[in-house]
Symmetry: C2
Subunit: 156 residues, 2 copies
């Protein structure tokens, strides 16, 4: 398996662990120089904290690991397109790139329908230099959503 | 002093404490039923965490206090217009309203120039129901920025 695929697989795996604990089906993994420095799933329900999206948890973990508020040279892998909160956090952290699988439209079908501003639009309107790759391992990321839908399917 | 003014004054006071510790000049205060349930300043530099804007810290604190990921019935006071990350977090937390003093344009002049998407634009594009009040105690919030500028004035 190619390195990039291993990184997204890690984000999916961590999301599956999160779903098992009753969380929403989202995972994220932050990579620097080919090495995973943080991986986290959404913990909004588990920790009763609205800010605990997968990417936010991963950023916080990565900042702690690097001892810096900057994640220069890092790529953020997300199973689903980061929401505007997470996109902005990735931008503020000065990461290089975002790679995601399923898009906002895919989770909208599941009921996650709010703040549907795409990352490309956030990038354009906010004049961000973040590189964005969409649809990476989309099928596997869709299977994660299907798995959650079958198991729970309740949107909070 | 009117209750609303007391709330914003609290956000300013906590921001001044943050500036004293070397942080950026932003404070936030979350109110429910006329009672302050959380107040926090920006701790990005102090805690080495890109996500630690004042509003994010206040939301996390309020969620912990209420034991819930939802802040229904709450108003978020911010000394400066929340950035898209914070706007989105306030939206996700299902707070009722945002009240802020200085706007994104005011801090742009100080060098905080990235992701300049206004809250009104975020609300419109994201179809958010959050109520937004701008320019509240703007002069006092501007004095906070001036105080920081005189003391430090370094943008990270």
């Amino acid at each position: 398996m190619k390195l990039e695929k291993r990184h997204m697989a890690r984000a999916i795996d961590v999301a599956v662990i999160g779903v098992r604990k009753g969380n929403s089906p989202f995972g994220s993994c932050i990579v620097k120089g080919g090495r995973v420095i943080a991986a986290a799933h959404n913990t909004v329900l588990q920790k009763h904290d609205a800010t605990n999206h997968a990417e936010m948890n991963a950023i916080r973990l990565a900042c702690r690991k690097l001892g810096s508020h900057e994640l220069k040279g890092c790529t953020v892998y997300s199973t689903t397109e980061p929401c505007p909160m997470c996109f902005s956090a990735i931008h503020w952290a000065k990461a290089d790139a975002i790679v995601f699988g399923t898009g906002i439209a895919d989770v909208k079908r599941l009921g996650f329908s709010e703040l549907t501003i795409s990352d490309r639009r956030m990038k354009k309107d906010g004049h961000s230099k973040l590189r964005i790759s969409s649809g990476f391992m989309k099928q596997e990321c869709q299977e994660l959503l299907d798995h959650w839908k079958k198991k729970n399917g309740k949107v909070y």
